[in-house]
Symmetry: D4
Subunit: 226 residues, 8 copies
């Protein structure tokens, strides 16, 4: 991999000082890059000793990364690859509750979980508590309320964060997903629903952007200290 850095400089400019500047290293977004480009960037970061989180990774890329760096870890639900450690598991702080409306929303929720953990937050995943059977949410409310920050992941009409925001005192980061069909228009209905939530305390990230939610939730969670 000795020459990867030179190769990388032709198509990418790694922000190596990012960690000093704002406390967290750059993350590799694999969609839209060729697998070779992603692999070269990951290799280049490894050479510089930067811990790597790569998102939206497919399994072909994961195989190539694992072949080159056997200590890499691929989560095929979350579609994340991690290589190196930014924060040891035992040092994770606080608590982020990742609440997920339906089974189909789990991949996005897991991207949030993997991101938040990578950067040093403890997390808890609570699945399939969408508002169609609201008692399921109430039965888990005690768990949800322990968190400093809540990530609410939902598709279709995405009513989950609205209901949650009337019940809890933690800030909620809402992640719309593409779950649904027809007039869900690839997650647009969920996005609009979350932006128009009638209860305050909610902000929203891009459709399917579990990474963005996990990243910001970690920043917020860290404000609460150890």
């Amino acid at each position: 991999m000795g020459s990867s850095d030179a190769t990388v400089s032709a198509f990418a400019c790694i922000d190596a000082e990012r960690q000093e500047r704002i406390g967290y290293p750059e993350v590799v977004y694999c969609a839209g890059k060729t697998d070779s480009q992603s692999l070269d960037i990951i290799g280049s970061m490894r050479e510089r000793g930067i811990p790597v989180l790569a998102t939206k990774a497919n399994s072909a890329l994961a195989s190539r990364v694992l072949a080159a760096f056997p200590d890499a870890v691929f989560d095929d639900t979350a579609r994340t690859i991690t290589l190196g450690v930014f924060c040891e598991p035992q040092n994770r702080q606080g608590l982020i509750s990742v609440v997920c409306a339906g089974t189909s929303d789990i991949p996005v929720a897991m991207e949030a979980v993997r991101t938040a953990e990578f950067f040093g937050s403890a997390t808890e995943l609570i699945c399939d508590v969408g508002v169609a059977g609201i008692h399921r949410l109430f039965s888990r409310l005690g768990d949800v309320c322990k968190a400093r920050v809540i990530i609410a992941v939902a598709g279709m009409e995405a009513a989950l964060p609205s209901v949650l925001a009337g019940l809890v005192s933690a800030p909620i980061i809402a992640v719309p997903t593409g779950t649904g069909y027809g007039a869900s228009f690839g997650g647009l209905a969920a996005l609009l629903g979350m932006l128009n939530a009638c209860a305050p305390g909610i902000s929203v990230v891009n459709i399917d952007n579990g990474f963005g939610a996990g990243y910001q939730a970690n920043m917020i969670n860290k404000l609460g200290g150890v």
Copy 2:
């Protein structure tokens, strides 16, 4: 008003046999018509003995109608005018619960109430029980459950019918409203939210179409008999 019928025939064709054909008379939709046209149509229906329900009426029209027909009734919240009686109040059947998320949604909800009552259904209006404070909905759930049909009126993210549909066994007609701003896009967010509801048992009418909801709810309510 003797000549109104001739005048009317130039711009409108009253469906005088509608009541025999499908059981209910035609309704006058005032928006998009000049006040004079609406007045002439109402006058022409009165001459034929057809009981009148007029919707989306403004107060200027209402004044003219009341001057011509002092027994007309104008509800300035619902923006409806009624003239004559299709079903006596004491003969109203069953029960339709009109559940309304916020104070701003009341005009649309009242249009549904006035329509359903005109055609012969008993109704109950339950206000300001949006999901941001879900205990308010639970405290009224007993009342809601008495109904044969539920009309759920909501703007913004319009999560109310989704939550209701997991709690009740009556069919729900959902009415999106233009309540909200920015990315509510004039009720589009609410409309999409209701169409994508994760709980079954819901169908949807046009934005702000309280009339359409009240009309169909009455048809359904009547299936249950006296």
Copy 3:
């Protein structure tokens, strides 16, 4: 299958009390789930004795379900799997007329038929009576008028429910489909057409949501008693 329930609890939370609470068991929406997840959920419901209706099922899933539960039934037009019986065929009540504009709309119409029948309604399917040859609709109008509730399934400009609503006295649930091309925008034109129907008595479900129409039509049909 003994361990499926434990497996299921990791990604799904079956709403086992739904039948007691609102009279109907939960339905499995297969799109967006992995086939293994759908299979585990179906298995878990079978273990608890809950009759299963699964929608948007593909044939690969159907094969796995049939292998595990030979008494399951797959309708490859409707894309439904049923396992167990909620209502015996001989006990089906009333009548729901499922009226379908074109040949391409039949899969969505059949999803409505299978859903309504599963929950206990008698149904009649009337095909290819779109408004382009309106005499075809008139020749079937006698049949349509026998129903307590009508489901109207149409793509393209979706004029069928508007025309029907001026001719019949039963409530109509309109289902837009993705039939068409170009400016049909995947069913958006049909959806907007149905929401703006000039005749009252119509409410609308999501594009291609035959299930939702069949489910609500059954609720309405049941109001009419045996």
Copy 4:
């Protein structure tokens, strides 16, 4: 008005040879122009002996035109001004049927009528025959069928041309209107409905473009000779 031509040349370039080139003079589209600009253009055409049809004219402009040219004619429903004669009424040819779904669609229909008549076609206006009471359309079908070309004007779901096209053998020009509210989105629903009509024989012009329909209908009507 002697100097209007010089003034006009600063902001407009009248296509004076258009009549020789393609048989019809230029038409003045008043929306978006100041009233003074429209007046100067009309004056300049009068000076050159070009018969004038001006569309989308408001009453303030009409008053100024009538003051300057007392032989001008303003139709305040159609919002057209005519000045001079392109074709004498007794010389109008063939027949164009302008069929109109609802009372609110009449202004657009009248713009089509005035345009077609100006250019030399006989017309018949048939009002309020929307599909919600389809017998109204059937009772007028004999009249509609006499025409060489049909203009169908409708808002809301705009199902009228689809139904007509299955019943008649003349070409139909469909004009969507902004009639409706909510999800009609200012005529978008009607436009999409007409573009996706399931019956062939229909083409469509812009929302509220009665002029364009009347203009093309006249061209087609003329193909049939005297």
Copy 5:
């Protein structure tokens, strides 16, 4: 094929009287139907002696039709199948000019050509005369001007009909195509461009609807007699 008619009645209702009613037989739209359904419908029409035009046909369907009916004709550019003759080539009347902006628009243009010819019009196809090199259009203008009706097929910004309408006196039917990328949004830009054409004399059909344009152009062309 003896039993095809019975089979067909289960999913389709052939409008056999259409030819008597409005002069032209029904056309088979193959998209959205299974190949077996299309084949059965074609077979059923052949049995009744109805000449067949089938559109949006793929080559797999064409092979099956040709195997069953060796006298069928498949045009793989236009994606049409014809079986039987509605109008003998030597009897074709008048002239329709099909003008096409770019090479990529030819399949849609050919669908218009095949449709217009099937129903009895003479046609001329004029290719690759888009406005980017407007002299190409001028050099063919003499040919274009011989037609009674013009069909203008264009994608991208679709300026062709606007320019044509200022140069010719025949009515123009404009067909937007999906040619282009990015902000062409699948033909939406072309559709909007054509609807907003600054020159009158144009009406528009659905994106890629060469059939609809050819069908209506034939109706118009026939008005001019032999």
Copy 6:
């Protein structure tokens, strides 16, 4: 005002236990309510001793509130009314930096400031530091970096939060505004820009929702303690 509570119960259901349940009292959203309704709700809250923050208030309402409650405070830029004190100014905690791209964005930014202060956060407003002259942002970066949370308010292309997120380590809540014209589509361009920010650490609220940003920023700021 003695009877306002009874009046209020007819159209509103004040969530009086909200403060106990989640730590903050309900806020009055005035848009969409009549001024009388807003005044009655404010009066009713005052009677119960609940401190009031009212948003999207117009000056007519403000005059009526000030007449009834002279200790109310109206900020006509922010369009907020406050009545009573939830947190004394000297007790405000931490720091929220409200960064504003242009002069036109100040009203939305001030709504965020007033909200955050009402609920107990110290704030600093930094104006007119949009990316068109990026040195203006750099010259204020020291101030921005003192904050625990940043609210970034911007219209047009809304690039401010993307640039900020690469420079600071605090979480950013982005508020799109309707500033701009043409293809800004009322703030849609800004909203999409913020949702697609290439730098992580950002979440987004509704267009013009300064209140929502201030409310959530306060929740986050409080995590950092005194």
Copy 7:
């Protein structure tokens, strides 16, 4: 006006070094600002000796500016105010041709003219040469071809730049306008048309952004030297 600078600093941060940095002073965009804010900013720039161009100014603002600075110049068609001189008229360089499709597009075209002249380019305005009468464009082509840069301003379907780009060798900046109605959707159709132009050599600015076109055209024109 001595204190305006202090006032200004509260809501605006004038980019006083912009002229040194990139050669041109900042421009005041008046829409979205209060008239007082615009006046204060203009006053503050005057105090520093910065020549002022203010765009999207209304006449009320113009009156206040003219009262304070009698040497200011207001163009009420272009809606621009200039105060002070950046480039003397006799020093204007090169030539920019501003070509305008219709009379309604003139205000936007004049904004481009005033902007380009302010910054030092010679301009020529060529009006009403839209493609509906293409000979008008050809008759002015000689003039257009003298320019180093062309600004093409058009609404409706906006075909003008496509046609021009096939005829000239200068770069074209296309400005869509809101001219039109119905499916022009406030200039969206024109914007999409220009973005999808089939001829190369065109780039596009925001709807109605005459300023942006004039500004960039001046930059390009200057590359050609004196």
Copy 8:
């Protein structure tokens, strides 16, 4: 290839005089054409001695072109084929800086590079300098500032041109790309962001239209002479 010209004339009309008329030969847009059509057009241009640039070419087409014309050159990142020379590399003039926000945007940027070079401009490609790490952009600013024209290529929120325009004095042509997911809506967010840029000096081409940007940038660059 001797007969290709005749073949070509059936589906294409090569604009052979374009080079004389406006200085540059026609370019072959391969998307939407069959590979055979593209090959025939390229062959026909070669026969006439016209240098060829073909864009949006896939590798299958490239193989066929290279087999027929071994001196052709295919760039599989840019997806361009060149055959023959319009301008020798040593004669390239001026400088165009192609600035690219992220690695995924390189294919579009390279299409711009290849186009500008083909027509005779010197270029420099500067990669991965998006605003998320703005120091990367500053470190390359010296290079960027040497150019006469800048092409800025970016996806997601596309803030790059806004930031650049405040820092440089050269005109910027902005190219939105489809990089991103969810609410990027295939490049729509980037397109809107660039059209609403708060800094002047920017114009925009279609999503992914590197060719259009390179073409116009070359025209502008040439104004600066050798």
